[in-house]
């Protein structure tokens, strides 16, 4: 059994049901939960924390069942989306609050305090009140407060969403560094797919109350187990095209792209398929060849180190996106030649599962 174990946990709401969910989180893991808004990920966090009680299923912490144990007895810490710092206390008092409340001896918490302040680089802001702190500073104090007692795990609910974009990138790495240095188990929830996948050891993808895939971020990225998951992962996410497979010639035909790709596979494939191709898996060619297809450029986004191009499918109204390394310039409705390698095409059957 894993350190944090949820078995067939369900929770019913008037218009929505979560679960049954199975979740196994290892000790010392940075576990991310990603899903679109209202997919149930914050509710799962609340069930772990004890703010919500499951309607069925069981929850184990370190082999002990705590399904209906009160939240304050569970020894988890939480960093909330709006941080929830005590506005009438300074940085130091905010951090020490949980330790003092739970009657930790002063000598113990003082030592821990020094360790936490050192790791978070916050000695210079401890005297400030939250109103005097910047977004990033408040974030660090909230983390300090979560770390002060040695909790079994730290739960983080969209902890970076209140920060400016640039600061979010910096704090994301800080969080990862902290988790490694303090050897703590993190359960991290966010609607920002790039953020969750970039720093988690493993990630659970939640859609409509169910956990659809749990794996190493690289596996989820390269091999989403369903088109639903594929549509959520990647910036921009995977493109999907209806396709058909001819068993005798082993050709995959994608009519919207006017493209036939030879698929080197020996297993049985259904005739009707959905073909998924990531934006970065298209190649821009200088000259057309027998395996390439043409598309028209609608617009492009010059992002500095890479470029996203929005293109019109040659044989439909659909738009698809490609991602090119480097800087490019295109004209509106410019025709370009593109190719895609067969081993980069992900195939999904009619129920939209990966084959």
């Amino acid at each position: 059994m894993s350190f944090i174990q949820l078995n067939s946990v369900t929770k019913n709401f008037p218009k929505f049901t979560i679960g049954p969910c199975d979740l196994s989180i290892e000790k010392g893991e940075f576990f991310g939960i990603f899903g679109p808004p209202s997919s149930g990920k914050t509710s799962i966090l609340k069930i772990i924390l004890g703010l919500l009680s499951p309607d069925s299923g069981s929850f184990y912490l370190d082999n002990e069942e705590i399904t209906h144990l009160a939240a304050h007895e569970r020894n988890f810490s939480m960093v909330f989306q709006n941080l929830a710092l005590f506005p009438h206390m300074n940085g130091r008092d905010n951090i020490l609050f949980p330790a003092i409340e739970s009657n930790v001896p002063e000598s113990v918490y003082n030592e821990r305090f020094d360790e936490v302040v050192d790791v978070l680089h916050i000695s210079h802001i401890l005297h400030k009140s939250p109103a005097q702190m910047s977004g990033g500073e408040k974030q660090r104090i909230a983390l300090g407060r979560a770390f002060i007692n040695k909790s079994s795990a730290i739960l983080l609910d969209e902890p970076l969403s209140a920060l400016d974009a640039r600061l979010r990138e910096e704090m994301k790495i800080e969080l990862k560094r902290l988790q490694i240095e303090m050897n703590q188990t993190f359960v991290y929830v966010s609607h920002d797919e790039e953020e969750v996948l970039s720093i988690s050891d493993r990630v659970g993808i939640m859609i409509d109350g169910k956990i659809r895939q749990i794996d190493d971020p690289s596996v989820v990225y390269d091999y989403p187990n369903s088109a639903d998951v594929g549509r959520l992962i990647g910036s921009p996410p995977m493109n999907f095209f209806p396709a058909s497979f001819d068993t005798s010639s082993k050709h995959l035909h994608i009519p919207n792209l006017d493209l036939k790709v030879k698929i080197e596979r020996d297993d049985e494939l259904p005739r009707k398929l959905l073909a998924g191709v990531r934006p970065e898996d298209f190649q821009l060619l200088e000259v057309a060849n027998e395996d390439s297809f043409k598309s028209l450029v609608l617009n492009f986004e010059p992002l500095g180190s890479y470029t996203i191009v929005n293109l019109q499918c040659p044989h439909s109204e659909d738009v698809f996106k490609i991602r090119l390394n480097g800087q490019y310039n295109f004209e509106f409705k410019q025709s370009v030649d593109l190719a895609v390698h067969s081993n980069k095409v992900r195939l999904f059957n009619e129920s939209e599962d990966l084959v």
Partner: protein, 365 residues
């Protein structure tokens, strides 16, 4: 459509100067992003263009007419607020039709325009529902539709995508780009997200602490930042910045960081010109994609040895955060095989870094 000129515009709130002597020209039909961190003055600037605030000094001209003589309602401006400001007591239909009713259109024309805009924003199925019942994403579409439907000459958007989840933000970026092409208005867009600015704008105006730092097309600002601040704020992933001292010489110059890391490189023309100075407080900026991970040192490049502390996977890219002495330097792992704790050599060309003055942050090389 309209052009906008800001001439030496300053704004004080009591003793606090929110905008400092701003000169900005926004051409007819241009999409300009005001980009900067929280508190830089971008929203105050946009509020002054709209007429919601008055400049303390300086002038704002719309189509060469000074705005102090134009009432807000006559400026022909559409405004999309960060918190939408939707009329929650009205239906989606009424939210869209309101501005047209005020302008005196007849019922048939209003209905035609509302149906078309709802279809354009993919909210036709919500027309008869109370606006309060819409999801956050739908509210955003309604807010944009409501402003666009009266066909303003100038469209002002204040961080319109910041409340949305990441994937919908990316989708709306594409939509906004298409919208702007269709409608052709002059658009001013406030954001703290440089990816949004790079993706959408014809020109980016980067602001910090009330001042305009640099103004130009996205790739110009990215490839030729005029200052340390711009190089830091624009570009994903973020640039590596090393602070220290430059010791220029005619043949070979060296740079020693504040944490005692020393690197040397052949002096190019610009460095030779600086070689009369003894020691120059400066920063070196190198973008992660210009640093390679290698198994051996390179003669013509600058080499740094360190240990990988964190591997960050961002979709198609893998970033390695490497500890080099007391510095953390980020580079891109092209091979996809680098691992945590690995000892590595990082190489970059002396042509690929920027040099900024410590005194004022301006670009030296």
């Amino acid at each position: 459509m309209s052009d906008i000129h800001l001439i030496k515009v300053s704004k004080f709130f009591d003793n606090f100067q929110a905008v400092k002597n701003l000169d900005l020209e926004i051409g007819n039909g241009e999409f300009v992003a005001l980009l900067g961190p929280s508190g830089c003055g971008k929203t105050t600037t946009m509020n002054m263009i709209a007429g919601l605030e008055h400049p303390t000094s300086g002038n704002i001209l719309i189509d060469s007419k000074d705005t102090s003589s134009i009432r807000i309602q006559d400026r022909n401006i559409g405004f999309v607020f960060q918190n939408y400001a939707i009329f929650t007591h009205l239906t989606v239909y009424k939210n869209l039709s309101y501005g047209l009713e005020v302008q005196g259109y007849d019922k048939a024309s209003i209905d035609d325009k509302v149906q078309k805009m709802a279809k354009r924003m993919s909210i036709s199925h919500r027309l008869d529902q109370p606006a309060a019942s819409l999801s956050v994403n739908e509210l955003q579409k309604l807010a944009i539709g409501r402003s666009a439907i009266v066909e303003p000459k100038i469209f002002l958007l204040d961080e319109p995508l910041s409340n949305l989840d990441a994937s919908f933000r990316a989708y709306m970026r594409s939509e906004l780009k298409l919208l702007q092409r269709e409608f052709g208005q002059t658009m001013v867009y406030v954001t703290h997200d440089q990816i949004e600015a790079m993706s959408l704008a014809d020109k980016i105006a980067i602001m910090n602490e009330g001042s305009l730092i640099q103004y130009g097309p996205p790739l110009e600002v990215y490839n030729n930042p005029n200052s340390k601040f711009v190089s830091y704020f624009v570009g994903s992933p973020k640039i590596n910045l090393l602070e220290g001292h430059l010791i220029p010489n005619s043949d070979s110059s060296s740079f020693v960081t504040n944490k005692d890391l020393a690197i040397s490189f052949p002096s190019n023309e610009k460095l030779k010109q600086l070689s009369n100075s003894e020691k120059l407080g400066a920063s070196i900026g190198i973008r992660p994609q210009n640093i390679k991970l290698s198994s051996k040192e390179s003669d013509k490049d600058i080499n740094l040895r360190g240990q990988i502390k964190i591997i960050e996977r961002i979709g198609a890219k893998r970033l390695a955060h490497v500890q080099v002495d007391n510095h953390m330097i980020t580079c891109i792992d092209d091979s996809g095989t680098a691992s945590q704790h690995e000892n590595v050599i990082m190489t970059f060309s002396p042509e690929s870094f920027f040099l900024f003055s410590e005194e004022n942050g301006n670009r030296l090389i």
